[in-house]
Symmetry: C2
Subunit: 238 residues, 2 copies
């Protein structure tokens, strides 16, 4: 696949991904070890819930293995998946700093290993390290733009366009550490994919079918592999 094209697409969809600078890979060594000084290990089985909407937040989390889905319940019972965090990513800090209750629920998509940092400890770390504080602030500012873009997507784009975009995002999310090839195995059940795209399962399946029939994606069992990145990117309108 054309490298220039690939980087253009990646660059374009990065406007819709949190892709935090606050990952295991990106934090400076010193700050990272400072932050993780007294971190505790947590293990979660698939489908286990880490925290629920409405709870007071306990601390922040960094994923060392697996994926966590962040979702929100609508008043009519529908579930909206907002993000999928994967290995290396850090989350939960915004709720701590804003002093809110959890606006979302965090559930393990697969078996997970996490590092947990207590609220007090985290706040202390932020206070003690101006660099850390600055990194968090920068990260949140950037993510604000990302969320604005997301709102635009949901407010204005059709399901076909949204699905194309989210498949491209998921392709990044589902990259395994050190993955070289471009295509990831997107291993997500239809219910979750529908909740992520913001549509009904039936509609999702039908749209996915048209992508398959056009050769844009390939299916192996329930997993999805993207075959034509450019087509999806063009459909997504990003």
């Amino acid at each position: 696949m054309n490298l220039l094209l690939k980087s253009r697409i990646q660059n374009s969809i990065s406007n819709f991904m949190l892709s935090s600078n606050l990952s295991l890979e990106n934090l400076p060594e010193t700050e990272l070890s400072f932050l993780l000084a007294d971190a505790k290990k947590i293990s979660l089985r698939r489908k286990e819930i880490l925290f629920r909407e409405g709870e007071p937040p306990k601390g922040i989390y960094m994923i060392t293995r697996g994926k966590i889905k962040i979702s929100q319940l609508n008043y009519n019972g529908a579930v909206q998946i907002l993000f999928i965090y994967t290995h290396g990513e850090l989350f939960g800090h915004r709720t701590i700093m804003g002093n809110d209750r959890q606006p979302v629920t965090a559930t393990a998509l697969e078996d997970c290993e996490l590092l947990f940092i207590e609220k007090e400890q985290f706040l202390h770390a932020i206070k003690s390290s101006p660099l850390l504080a600055e990194l968090f602030m920068k990260s949140m500012s950037h993510e604000f733009s990302v969320l604005l873009n997301r709102i635009n997507v949901f407010a204005q784009r059709a399901i076909r366009e949204r699905l194309a975009l989210f498949l491209l995002i998921l392709n990044e999310t589902y990259k395994t550490p050190n993955q070289i090839i471009e295509e990831s195995e997107i291993h997500m059940n239809r219910n979750d994919l529908a909740a992520y795209t913001g549509t009904s399962v039936e509609n999702l399946v039908r749209t996915l079918k048209t992508f398959r029939e056009s050769g844009y994606v390939r299916m192996e069992g329930k997993s999805i592999f993207i075959q034509d990145f450019e087509a999806l990117h063009s459909i997504s309108g990003s």
Copy 2:
């Protein structure tokens, strides 16, 4: 109008409003004067553009009079209005801190007076005052939750529900300083209201008509006044 009910509704829709803690009224005296030390005055006529999507940000702004709409252009030419800032509110700081280009366009909805604080000056203020930094961080964290809620709204709710919600929000936005009565004059053209709700003008007008016929709102000229807060709140599903 029942006070308890009123506060319940306000509390509920505040989950969808930025309602920054960073306003003229809420910032501590010392920090405010520090921040505004070398601020410049800017005047804008109605429809004038303050900055455009894609531009590098110049600084931050605080509104002393008027309203500014923050909008984003979709690839197909549709405009999505994301926020309406009003007197006392501060904006533009997130783009500065995240070191992004402007993801949005800011346009005067009415004749406006603003205070402008240069980028360097603002960054310096943040660096020098830990309290200011903390306030900004808190504010952004909270706003993250607000945006998540918004995404949910656009992803899952029908136009009728969204319009009810946004009318309630606009009722707050359009309160004049020191306004005592509950009902504000929502003075916004149909195009902007449609772009804010995320629908077409025709659809907006029709939905508005059903609200009027049900006695939920009243129209004087082109202005909208809410008459039944509880009904709208209940429709909004919040």
